[in-house]
Symmetry: C3
Subunit: 313 residues, 3 copies
């Protein structure tokens, strides 16, 4: 088994096929810890993980916190609201200050694309990008790939459709980078105003008509309509968006019979996905959440320097 | 000693006399841990407790957090403010997402009556109701009963008066249910606008005049005037409320000579209780806080599946 | 080696020369824990530390939290925002309630001078003042003295200049008290509107002209311009403040050749200090942050009752 030779996890772009396989394999071996009676191993005892969330994201923060605690690491959380660390201070100075307290890992969620890269240059601690602006959300893509591999047995030679606001989605971006790297074929679909011009350069195929985009797919990945982030002119009404691009059982039937349906959460039921689909046997949405903890355990473990042989309790 | 045969603690209504006795006995045996030099036993090592507070309540959250940590459980806290878990997501979806991360216990404080019951139906983790709307606050009632039993040696055959805004008080409701079940007699008093119509159905006796209500009581339980929650028309002025229903030493003398005085906190000194009373030897208000940690330790312990024999360090 | 014979750390004013030396020596021996592979010793296992921050201060809270965790203590954090513990309750009642839960240490940051002293009178737990109003910030002064001693080998017979808004700075006040007690000479400088009238009574020398104030100094300590706290009439413009009292390399050259430059952070780059100075080899600003964790570990350790001999892992 290979070694993970990175200080930071900033994006899927930086990872090789071997890196991704190593992360997924490590996550696979760590996943059962969360189902044990005593959900804790001493692997990262005495290590400090700082969860630094400029943007609120309870879901992702809790996943990282649980992952760290199940490996016995200590966690400290910083949220932007009321953070005087942030006031009147550049990110660079904040980074240096955090580093001065000797953390092992800093998990950063930030509204500006590239913020984790800046942080990583300033600190010797490992940096994990927990979502930066509209750039990348690599841990989401890794947990998505983990979930697909778990269900399909492989990533290569699969047909994946990603539907929604591709141009503003760091989830889409990280998944396109990762899935194509691993040998899957990615088709994207959504309103023309939500498609980046350079989408084909990323390696994905654009099919405007969602009925055609879903044809014979192994995996459907729905994106969340960011109601709060959306420029209202991107589509006329939610109802109209929903009637064209919302995932219904009728659309699901265009895909393969054993298709799996994914969503990064939280769900806007009745907007990008109907409840019938979200709660159907095709849905692996809650597996994604479970696997998120395992993948984050793997990343903390690999970045802090474990090698795959010695993670047993 | 019996076994605690519940997945959740949603309300006092669900508990039998044996259940309540088991909880109080377990709390009694765990209480001394908090007075040790090393205030920690490994009973719940590797267990995850999520403290989910939609309504802020620092006091109750800290009590649960300390209880969990003294049993070596890991804790994760979610507050409503800034919780994206909550945004655009039903409680049902939030519940399923939390469950997907394999917590052992979810402690829920929520402004809607019945929210913990909904959560409990969706998750296999144990759910503890830390106060839901105007419905129940079972851990408060249990710590109150613990405190009474500790001081009086029993619960049955005691005369208890509860004074204040009975109709909006989940504390009153849980205590009436618990105390009557355990064989105490409960008298309630307060302004007519604060009395629920169905009070006698709960098993309590309504006595409008507080002087008469306190006559020969063993226990006086004062309720907090929820200044922020109160519909201002329920009584003309605070001063008037206070002059009729505020607990003074003159009123205390109506009760038995060995009466104990309780309050769930935080105190509005000079409103529902004078400082002279709150700080008198009759007051067991701070014992209630101390016992709250012990009772919550007992509940975490029993719900996660311990049996009373094996909790020793 | 002596013993630390205090229940609380409320201010530098209460400490003897021997106390300060003991704290700094203990910090020195604990500092290397943060550089270990496993940054944790069991010294305070089973102890509870409550971090109670009425005023937000992410930097100081994290430093205390890391310090506590590296000694294996359990931590619970309370922030003022949304703290119902605070609502309608006196600090005295809050104190008694916290005490009822048996914490070992309460760390208090409060906007009112004297709040930690009031807390300390009410609780048997140790109280650490993490900054109270414009009174004291003793842990900052201790980490500053630690840093100076680490660099200069001593505190006595050093010349220290403190520049900025002396009259509103608890950092300045604690440092003047500590440094003069330890045998250093302190010169202060800043706009006349920012100088307390009784400055000489504290033992410092006032030199209005910053050029003269910095002459032959061993240590320059710059204070943060509290942009949010400042009454705007204290100086005409930031630009003007900066041009007179902002630390530039030109001003640094007035001091000794081996001068060290300190700042409690966060930096207002280009206001009280230029980037050239802050990032120069003279700057020990990040050492201060690192040493803050060590000094707070020492205080937690000494207040909870350790003696210097038995802190080894």
């Amino acid at each position: 088994m290979g070694k993970f030779d990175h200080k930071d996890l900033l994006g899927i772009g930086q990872l090789s096929v071997e890196d991704i396989s190593l992360i997924l394999d490590t996550a696979e071996s760590l996943k059962e810890i969360s189902t044990r009676d005593i959900k804790k191993v001493p692997a990262l005892r005495g290590k400090s993980v700082v969860n630094f969330f400029y943007e609120p994201s309870t879901r992702t923060r809790i996943s990282f916190e649980m992952a760290a605690k199940r490996l016995s690491a200590d966690t400290v959380s910083i949220s932007a609201s009321g953070s005087s660390l942030v006031k009147g201070e550049t990110l660079k100075d904040t980074a240096r200050n955090l580093q001065a307290m000797n953390p092992d890992i800093i998990v950063l969620r930030h509204s500006s694309s590239g913020a984790p890269h800046l942080l990583a240059m300033e600190v010797s601690a490992g940096v994990i990008n927990a979502g930066d602006g509209i750039n990348e959300h690599p841990t989401q893509a890794l947990l998505d790939m983990f979930t697909i591999r778990e269900r399909k047995g492989r990533l290569h030679d699969l047909d994946v459709a990603i539907i929604g606001d591709i141009s503003h989605s760091r989830v889409a971006r990280s998944n396109i980078l990762g899935l194509t790297k691993m040998g899957a074929r990615v088709t994207v679909s959504g309103p023309p105003t939500m498609m980046p011009v350079e989408i084909e350069a990323l390696g994905a195929t654009l099919v405007s008509d969602p009925v055609k985009a879903l044809k014979d797919k192994d995996v459907i990945m729905m994106l969340r309509i960011q109601l709060e982030r959306q420029n209202k002119t991107l589509f006329p009404t939610l109802r109209e968006y929903s009637s064209f691009f919302g995932l219904t059982m009728r659309l699901v039937r265009e895909a393969r019979g054993d298709v799996i349906i994914m969503h990064p959460g939280p769900l806007n039921r009745g907007v990008e996905i109907t409840s019938e689909v979200a709660d159907s046997p095709y849905s692996v949405i809650l597996d994604q959440v479970t696997n998120g903890v395992a993948v984050r355990m793997a990343l903390l473990y690999l970045l802090i320097g474990g090698s795959k042989g010695d993670n047993a309790d």
